[in-house]
């Protein structure tokens, strides 16, 4: 994925890039080396968007403000579209299950595993 494509995928989310999204992206980029060029970057960006999205929504903490919630929703939706483009079904399912775990634990007021841990596992899912 070229820088230009990356820019397009960050449309409306530019402010998040310097607010943790770029760090998370680089972290995930390091573990998706097996995927080919564009897919590597899409998978890493999807994982970073989920991590930042649930953080914005304060899942498990005090309720996010409506604008933060909506921005978090957009992060999750874009991640979902990137995964639809680039991930295997197994990885898509694993990502969804990671979010389900975080959300179900938040609803039950239980301590959830760290999002990054779940997402790193999701990236390694095999069918």
């Amino acid at each position: 994925m070229s820088a230009q494509v990356l820019d397009r995928e960050l449309d409306r989310l530019e402010d998040l890039w310097t607010d943790g999204l770029s760090d998370a992206y680089r972290e995930y980029l390091g573990v998706v080396k097996e995927a080919d060029g564009d897919s590597q970057m899409k998978l890493a960006l999807a994982a970073a968007l989920v991590e930042v999205g649930v953080r914005l929504q304060s899942l498990g903490g005090r309720a996010a403000t409506p604008p933060a919630l909506l921005m978090g929703d957009l992060c999750l939706a874009r991640a979902s579209r990137l995964l639809a483009d680039a991930a295997t079904i197994a990885v898509q399912v694993a990502f969804a299950r990671a979010i389900e775990t975080l959300a179900a634990d938040a609803a039950a007021q239980k301590q959830a595993p760290p999002a990054r841990e779940l997402l790193l596992q999701a990236l390694e899912a095999r069918s």
């Binding site: 409306r12 649930v54 929504q57 304060s58 899942l59 498990g60 903490g61 005090r62 309720a63 996010a64 409506p66 604008p67 919630l69 909506l70 921005m71 929703d73 957009l74 999750l76 939706a77 874009r78 979902s80 579209r81 995964l83 639809a84 483009d85 079904i89 898509q92 399912v93 990502f95 969804a96 299950r97 990671a98 979010i99 389900e100 975080l102 959300a103 179900a104 938040a106 609803a107 039950a108």
Partner: protein
């Protein structure tokens, strides 16, 4: 050959009962693709006719019948002293029998592509000549029938989706399942799953269980977005019940929305059709982006038509469109069919939202009047009222302030006296007409009448 009886009641001495839709439904239910419908009146004072359903013309017909055989003109049939074996309830109806001579007791209508072959202005009438009465038509359907398909059995199709929703909600952790179950069980129109199911019946690959799974996932996704919307809009009730945010707090609402967002995307991924997954994912992204725009536009409330349409196409129409396209993709329909249905969904989704906006100004809709105004939700009638030369200045002034109950009532009144509601109704109707045109030229395996009827029902609400 399928044999039926169509029963109905008339309400006037002379009445033109338009039975076109009833007969069309029988054709659809039977799955008749190409053939004929034969109708026969089972009464000597009930005729059949094919003509135009225009109220003044129908009055002309009545007058012609009256001139031909005036009532009370001294018919021998009505002289009971000269007749034998007359029933106790024998009516005085010589005129009605004579009028029947002008009509026919039989009609045959051709069927092509699963629909009645009627000209633009043609309707099929049962003509009551001696009402009011209970009446019956004998109907025979003859020709080539489609193989039985789930999409042609809407009740079974709907039941399968409900079953799938129940099944999915049974296996989820209770803290997320309970609030979603309340929302799902509270009803809703289920238009999106219906569109998925219908579109999934068009192509050659018919898999009812996969289609039901996709339809249920789309409904869960829709409900997940509603749960977050209700928190953002500070709504206290939805479908007559407290919202998740109001009942259980915003933290729970966010978690439940996220859970079902993820679960729905998982169910769709597990179907294993990449283009279906992408189609829904793109719609979801459009919904979320439009929701952000919607909130941003509330600063310049009530906004303008262009911004309104941009938001509505994302927030509402995107999922209608994706529901249609994904169902068609699942059934491996031809690309031109998928594209036509995608556009059809976009148009009826936009029309649906316009109709929904109008409900906010109706005291008979069953919903609280003026709720959209209080929550500063984008609304086309309000945009048009604010642009109105007469009431516009007052509408804009009221909306610029903090709205007390009296102000909301006044804005509602102003919208009602302006031409905003008829304008919106006209636009919604025009979009439905355009949607119907979109699906005119593609092969829809006999489902065109159902899709047309669904498009019309999207805007025909009780205002």
């Amino acid at each position: 050959m399928i044999v039926k009886r169509v029963r109905f009641e008339t309400s006037a001495p002379t009445e033109f009962v338009d039975v076109t839709d009833r007969i069309r439904e029988e054709v659809q239910r039977a799955g008749l693709r190409t053939g004929r419908v034969h109708l026969q009146s089972l009464h000597t004072t009930l005729g059949l006719a094919v003509n135009e359903n225009e109220p003044l013309l129908l009055r002309d017909f009545e007058q012609v019948l009256e001139r031909f055989a005036p009532s009370g003109a001294g018919y021998e049939h009505d002289d009971f002293s000269r007749r034998i074996d007359i029933a106790l309830d024998e009516p005085v109806n010589g005129h009605a029998h004579c009028r029947q001579l002008l009509l026919s007791s039989f009609a045959t209508v051709l069927v092509e592509e699963g629909d009645l072959v009627l000209g633009r202005w043609q309707s099929l009438f049962a003509v009551e000549l001696d009402g009011p009465r209970r009446r019956e038509l004998a109907v025979q359907l003859d020709g080539d029938f489609a193989a039985p398909r789930f999409s042609h059995a809407p009740e079974a199709s709907d039941a399968l989706v409900e079953l799938e929703l129940t099944r999915q909600l049974l296996v989820d952790p209770e803290p997320v399942a309970a609030p979603m179950r309340r929302l799902v069980e509270a009803g809703g129109k289920r238009l999106r799953p219906k569109l998925v199911q219908l579109a999934a019946g068009i192509g050659p690959r018919q898999e009812p269980l996969r289609a039901a799974s996709l339809a249920a996932a789309v409904e869960l996704l829709h409900n997940a977005t509603l749960i977050h919307d209700d928190y953002v809009d500070e709504s206290t009730h939805r479908r007559g019940r407290p919202t998740v945010a109001a009942a259980e707090g915003p933290e729970r609402a966010i978690a439940v929305g996220d859970y079902y967002f993820a679960k729905a995307t998982r169910l769709i991924a597990e179907i294993g059709h990449r283009r279906v997954t992408s189609t829904i994912a793109e719609a979801l992204e459009a919904i979320c982006a439009s929701q952000i725009d919607d909130v941003a536009l509330r600063g310049a409330y009530p906004g303008d038509r262009e911004s309104y349409l941009r938001v509505v196409r994302g927030k509402t129409a995107a999922l209608f469109s994706a529901a249609c396209a994904s169902g068609a993709l699942l059934s491996e329909a031809e690309p031109e069919v998928v594209d036509a249905l995608r556009r059809y969904g976009d148009l009826i989704g936009t029309a649906f939202q316009m109709a929904d906006d109008m409900v906010d100004f109706s005291p008979t809709s069953g919903k609280p009047v003026g709720l959209d105004i209080r929550q500063r939700v984008l609304s086309l009638p309000l945009i048009y009222a604010a642009e109105d030369r007469v009431v516009g200045p007052e509408v804009r002034r009221l909306l610029a302030g903090s709205l007390a109950d009296d102000d909301v009532d006044r804005v509602t009144e102003l919208v009602n006296v302006s031409d905003a509601l008829p304008r919106v109704r006209g636009e919604a109707q025009a979009l439905v007409d355009e949607a119907v045109r979109e699906i005119e030229s593609v092969e829809l395996d006999g489902l065109r009448p159902t899709l047309i009827s669904l498009a019309r029902s999207a805007v025909n609400r009780s205002y």
